[in-house]
């Protein structure tokens, strides 16, 4: 019973872990380069959740100082994750650009076919 309570009480972390594992699995298992990048993005997104979840404080409001409120949510995780999102976008863009170039050079974006073509030449 207590295990179930722990799982339900931390359902947000369960979602985070599911996304983390699913993303990593796609990166490892898929042979298609674009799908691999999508998996990588899901993996990174789970980390955004990991940081943002503890930033919310029960009863806390947006961290803009106002005499009417005394409890604020922690703004730091959001700032950190804004940076991480920028990094994630840059990585995804660069990855897709590389895939576009690979497609022009090899004529395919399936990893096993690319390895075959390199072996032939």
């Amino acid at each position: 019973m207590s295990v179930l309570e722990t799982v339900l009480g931390h359902y947000d972390y369960v979602i985070t872990m599911f996304l983390m594992m699913a993303g990593l699995y796609i990166v490892v298992a898929s042979g298609n380069m674009v799908k691999k990048l999508i998996g990588l993005s899901i993996f990174q997104t789970s980390v955004y959740l990991l940081y943002i979840e503890p930033g919310k404080i029960t009863g806390g409001t947006a961290p803009i100082v106002d005499p009417a409120f005394s409890v604020y949510s922690n703004p730091l995780p959001h700032v950190l994750i804004l940076t991480a999102i920028v990094v994630g976008v840059a990585t995804l863009a660069l990855g897709l650009a590389l895939v576009a170039r690979i497609n022009e050079a090899y004529g395919t974006i399936e990893e096993d076919e690319i390895f075959d073509r390199d072996r032939e030449s």
Partner: protein, 497 residues
């Protein structure tokens, strides 16, 4: 000077950043090179000034935006990262003249300015990782250096450069994300991202939630090991080094993995080590076993490689094994050996890859079968290759011997005789793979394909000879390598719980 001195830590990062932006704005190959050269030559001056200041006056702390730590981002220079700053900036400064002709040959004109822009961004990132005292800031700089590295690799002429860049991007991003998950755990446990502050608070977390601390340690270790190519997470490295433009390989092999190793040392010895008793965890065993696997398996693969750049890349994996072996031993002599090998390996590997870059410049290939008799056509280049190759083996009189001597001493301190034997045995494999190249280069008759080859122009030759000379110099005069490393190791070991 006095007005500039307090700001040196931040200038170390801001100047290359401004240089990169200007290079991106100007878009001309020559002006990009001029900017990169000016910045690269300025950096060692700042780094040496910082190291001298640290060695005499203790750690320097710089508060970004005037916000005091642990709230603001702190740049913190102590003897350990001062040492790494000098290494990275010196490699950049020595290598930069080499890049001019090499880049002009291997890259199309419209790509050259971007290449220098990316090089400066990479330098920004590497120096930033080294100088920062903030765990998340280190991640940002890690990604700045990684993203620019992927571009620098993908600019290689061979289409396999694109593929290896893509593979490195996937592996590198997984590594950085693992690292950031680890930092996330640390942040949840301690509520802080400042490295000094974390090390003060982690002890309490360890007492209440040891499993979470171990999870954080595991994520950080795996993430950084991916980036520093610790066996068996090294699979991205050989292809990336083999197909990248020559200067990219020179710069990355000498700096990128070394800076990540520094970050690992920083986490082990000044963050986790001071609050956790490492003897309770099997860290030494794991790292020593993986390092030994790297030293033997990667060296054996190198023996059978036909492409000399790929061979040297596998040798890099093996040499990283020696450095992590020193970290795993974690005693005075062993850690000194690991730290010294960071510098020594950087210098000799830069020399080796540079001479191969020069061969590529003249001959257009680095396949072993095409290099018969190259020593007679390019005597100075291949002489430097030979000297640095001896350093790789660890012959007495070269800097490689110094590192292995300290590592053996470290193993001896623990009473691990078998480890001393294994260090010597793995060096014998290095004799085989370096010997293969030397035999082909010096003992065979020059083939008609390389009849036109001769030593490269001075801008390439001088850096090669300088680095090879450094390999010999630091084999005899060790005050600035083993001396400083010994002091650093003493502080690090003294801080361990």
């Amino acid at each position: 000077m006095t007005a500039v001195q307090p700001h040196l830590p931040v200038l170390q990062v801001v100047i290359p950043l401004l240089g990169a932006l200007l290079a991106g704005l100007l878009r001309r190959g020559t002006s990009g090179f001029a900017l990169a050269l000016a910045v690269s030559w300025l950096m060692p001056l700042i780094a040496v000034a910082l190291l001298c200041q640290v060695l005499t006056g203790g750690p320097i702390s710089y508060h970004l935006g005037g916000w005091p730590p642990p709230w603001g981002i702190e740049y913190r220079v102590d003897a350990l990262n001062g040492f790494v700053l000098v290494l990275v900036s010196t490699i950049g400064a020595v290598g930069m003249p080499f890049s001019y002709r090499s880049v002009a040959l291997e890259l199309e004109p419209r790509q050259q300015a971007w290449f220098y822009c990316m090089y400066l961004l990479c330098l920004t990132g590497l120096l930033g990782i080294t100088v920062t005292g903030d765990a998340f800031n280190a991640f940002v700089f890690l990604e700045i250096s990684s993203l620019s590295t992927y571009v620098m690799i993908a600019l290689g002429r061979d289409r396999r450069a694109l593929l290896s860049s893509y593979q490195y991007l996937i592996m590198g991003t997984i590594g950085a994300t693992f690292y950031i998950i680890g930092v996330g755990f640390i942040y949840l446990l301690t509520g802080s991202l400042n490295m000094v502050d974390i090390s003060a608070r982690l002890g309490a977390a360890w007492a209440s939630q040891p499993s979470a601390v171990i999870a954080a340690l595991a994520f950080v270790t795996v993430g950084l090991s991916l980036k520093l190519a610790l066996f068996p997470l090294h699979v991205w490295l050989p292809n990336a080094y083999a197909y990248a433009p020559s200067f990219t390989t020179v710069f990355l092999s000498a700096t990128a993995t070394k800076v990540t190793i520094y970050l690992l040392i920083r986490y082990y010895f000044t963050i986790f080590g001071v609050s956790i008793d490492f003897r309770a965890l099997p860290i030494t065993e794991v790292i020593v076993v993986l390092s030994l696997a790297a030293m033997f398996i990667a060296s054996l693969v190198a023996v059978f490689e036909q492409n000399v750049k790929r061979m040297l890349a596998y040798s890099s994996v093996a040499q990283i094994g020696y450095i992590t072996l020193g970290i795993g031993l974690a005693d005075q002599a062993g850690l000194t050996g690991g730290l010294v090998h960071i510098v020594n390996h950087a210098l000799m590997k830069a020399a080796l890859f540079m001479s191969m870059g020069a061969v590529f410049y003249r001959v257009g290939t680095v396949n072993l079968k095409d290099l018969a008799g190259i020593g007679r056509k390019m005597p100075i280049t291949m002489a430097a290759f030979t000297v640095a190759g001896f350093g790789l083996i660890g012959t007495p009189g070269t800097s490689g011997f110094i590192s292995k001597w300290y590592l053996a001493l470290g193993a001896f301190e623990r009473g691990w005789w078998w480890l001393v034997f294994l260090i010597v045995a793995s060096s014998l494999i290095a004799v085989v793979y370096v010997g293969r190249v030397l035999e082909v280069a010096w003992r065979r008759e020059p083939s008609p394909a390389i009849a036109e080859a001769s030593d490269p122009p001075l801008t390439m030759l001088v850096p090669i000879v300088l680095l090879a000379a450094a390999t010999v110099y630091f084999g005899f005069f060790t005050e600035w390598t083993a001396g400083v490393a010994g002091t650093v190791a003493k502080t690090l070991i003294g801080g361990l719980k």
